[in-house]
Amino acid sequence: MLKINNLHASVEDKSILKGINLEVKAGEVHAIMGPNGSGKSTLASVIAGKEEYEVEKGEILLHGENIDELAAEERAHKGVFLSFQYPVEIPGVSVTNFIKTAINETRKAQGLEDMHAKDMLKKIKEKAELLEIDRKFLSRSLNEGFSGGEKKRNEIFQMAMLEPKLAILDETDSGLDIDALRIVANGVNKLKSKDNAVIVITHYQRLLDHIVPDFVHVLYNGKIVKSGTKELAFELEEKGYDWIKEEVNA
């Protein structure tokens, strides 16, 4: 589904990603871990198409197609979804109206008619229930005054609504208490299928207790320096990142 070859990216002339190679197949869950400042969020933003980042070298293939030149919305229309570490507040636009617009714009791009209002409501109701989101919450302004947990739950709600092929969860566990973490993880697990893939970006192992990865990668200094299975996450939890750094620097 996603293939990244020798990806180099920079922001304002500062080189951040220095040769990433990664392959994610349909049905898989990949975890990307690593110390602060290693480039995890940059990788997520580059895949999603943030314009401030410049791809200097390498390529990002989605279903075999190079998406480097595509705008963020075009990537979204092809099924890429990024759950933000810090979701942006948009006062004056309700959660419902925002998601309706997102869905119908995506459908328009795919040559489909707007979703029927009744079907939309049904879907909103169903997905809100999955994430234990209150009806009142949906009419509030997007992310405005939301608690950290509410913001993240709202991100996963949008993911559930948009049903992406490739979901990237950037530090979705940060700011979540244990109940919210369970709800969010449960939501993600319900959405998982053999046709889609998930990349979980996290600093800690605790989210991976709930969303179990098939592969774990360690990102350090702009490169994937170690890959393994879920056991690697446990090892990192226990021993921290210093041993990785030492290994790389040795």
Partner: protein
């Protein structure tokens, strides 16, 4: 001939033409003298520092249209708020159109300034209110000198007016260039409530200059909600002079939506003559090209325990120019005043300009006054957030602009106006958002 000279020489003919015994005659004469002395404002006047009238005064305007032209409702329907029932006072090239209007004398008077100025039964009201709150500056004086036609609205006490009143001015292009000077008088007595919508619309590319004066009197506990929809074409300019005299416990709000026209200047003045008065001024300005919109506001807090709220949002593209000059005066007696003023702007282009200048003159010591001006660009992180959810750039931008102006829209009490404004914004941005905020 210079426009000023032309106007001065037209005045005699104008006065001879109409009832010379009218008490208003003296007022007009006096006003003409004022205009002769003051003339049109120039950039040397502090209040006109950022707005020059030179570009609009250069045309050879007809002051009295020679021919009349009729319009069919179907052709101008789109300029009306037509999905709800309203009273309508409609003018075509400055002349009343009974065909398009719907006036009333049932309990309330919604009719014409010309008849109010002439008929004895309105004499007392004219004597008590006409030209009593309008400031005697050159432009207002000019309007007073030529005041003859416009809307006359009198709401006796304890009346909840059953439907909004629309005041519409069309210009047809019958004249090569046309100057209009509508004069409105609105008197709302104790405990009454009225909603008014005003719009000026030119139907051709011939230049039009409108210099309008509206006097509003809100007596004890009256509620007046006024909506100004300014979305005229590129050759139409508007100088709107609105003066509001409020008595105790009255509530007046003016929403000004400025989306079009060549040059628009709003002189909006509130005078609070009583306690526990609320004055609200809100505006959304979205312009581009070389359009120019200037909001010049004044709130005069004269007595204690009153409030004023100003919230103006502006979005400026291309080479457009915005001006906000908001003056708040709090007199020594006006203790416990709450005065808020905000002016937030987004510049979409490097060549767009906004001049924003709050002026607070506070002589009382126990007051709460705040003001804030911001100028910024569209939030890039919000743009990326929306785009990453599949909302294309243009639509995302539109959505952010809606969000930005939403505070102003939320206080609009007529849903059809809110929908209309939403649609105009969407049209302006070339998007279809698919829902109303």
């Amino acid at each position: 001939m210079e426009l000023k000279d032309k106007l001065v020489s037209s005045f005699l003919a104008f006065e001879n033409h109409i009832n010379i015994d009218s008490k208003v005659h003296d007022i007009r004469n006096e006003a003409m003298k004022t205009f002769e002395n003051e003339g049109f404002p120039s950039k040397k006047d502090e209040d006109w520092k950022y707005t020059s009238l030179n570009g609009v005064l250069k045309h050879d305007y007809s002051v009295f249209p020679k021919q009349e032209k009729a319009l069919e409702y179907k052709d101008v329907k789109k300029y009306f708020i037509h999905d709800i029932d309203t009273y309508k006072i409609v003018f075509i090239d400055g002349k009343y159109s009974s065909h398009l209007s719907e006036t009333t004398h049932d309990k309330i008077d919604v009719c014409l300034m010309s008849s109010a100025l002439e008929k004895p039964k309105y004499e007392l009201i004219i004597e008590n209110y006409f030209n009593k709150v309008a400031v005697k500056d050159g432009l207002s004086a000019l309007n007073t000198a030529f005041s003859r036609e416009g809307a006359y609205i009198h709401i006796p006490k304890n009346q909840l007016v059953d439907k909004p009143i629309q005041i519409l001015h069309f210009s047809t292009g019958n004249e090569a260039a046309l100057m209009l000077q509508p004069r409105n008088l609105i008197v709302v007595e104790e405990n009454s409530h009225v909603q008014i919508i005003e719009r000026h619309q030119s139907l051709t590319e011939n230049p039009v200059l409108t210099n309008s004066v509206t006097e509003i009197f809100a007596n004890k506990r009256a509620i007046v909600d006024y909506y100004k929809l300014q979305n005229d074409n590129q050759e139409a300019s508007l100088i709107d002079n609105t003066f509001i005299d409020q008595k105790r416990e009255s509530f007046c709000s003016v929403h000004t939506f400025s989306f079009g026209g060549k040059l628009t200047r709003n002189n909006l003045n509130f005078y609070q003559n009583g306690e526990r008065i609320d004055s609200t001024m809100k505006g959304i300005t979205i312009i581009g090209d070389k359009q120019h919109v200037d909001h010049n506001t004044l709130v005069h807090h004269i007595e204690p325990n009153c409030e004023s709220h100003q919230d103006y949002k502006g979005i400026f593209g291309d080479k457009s120019i915005g001006v906000f000059n908001g003056k708040v005066v709090v007199e020594k007696e006006a203790q416990k005043t709450n005065a808020f003023q905000a002016n937030n702007n987004i510049l979409l282009s490097d060549k767009a300009t906004i001049n924003t200048k709050p002026q607070l003159e506070i002589f009382a010591d126990d007051v709460k006054c705040s003001h804030g001006c911001t100028i910024g660009q569209l939030d890039e992180s919000a743009m990326f957030y929306m785009r990453s959810r599949g909302i294309p750039k243009k639509e995302a931008k539109a959505l952010l602009m809606y969000a930005f102006s939403n505070n102003v829209l939320s206080s609009v009490k007529i849903p059809e106006i809110k929908q209309r404004i939403t649609k105009i914004i969407a049209n302006k941005l070339g998007v279809n958002i698919g829902f109303d905020l």
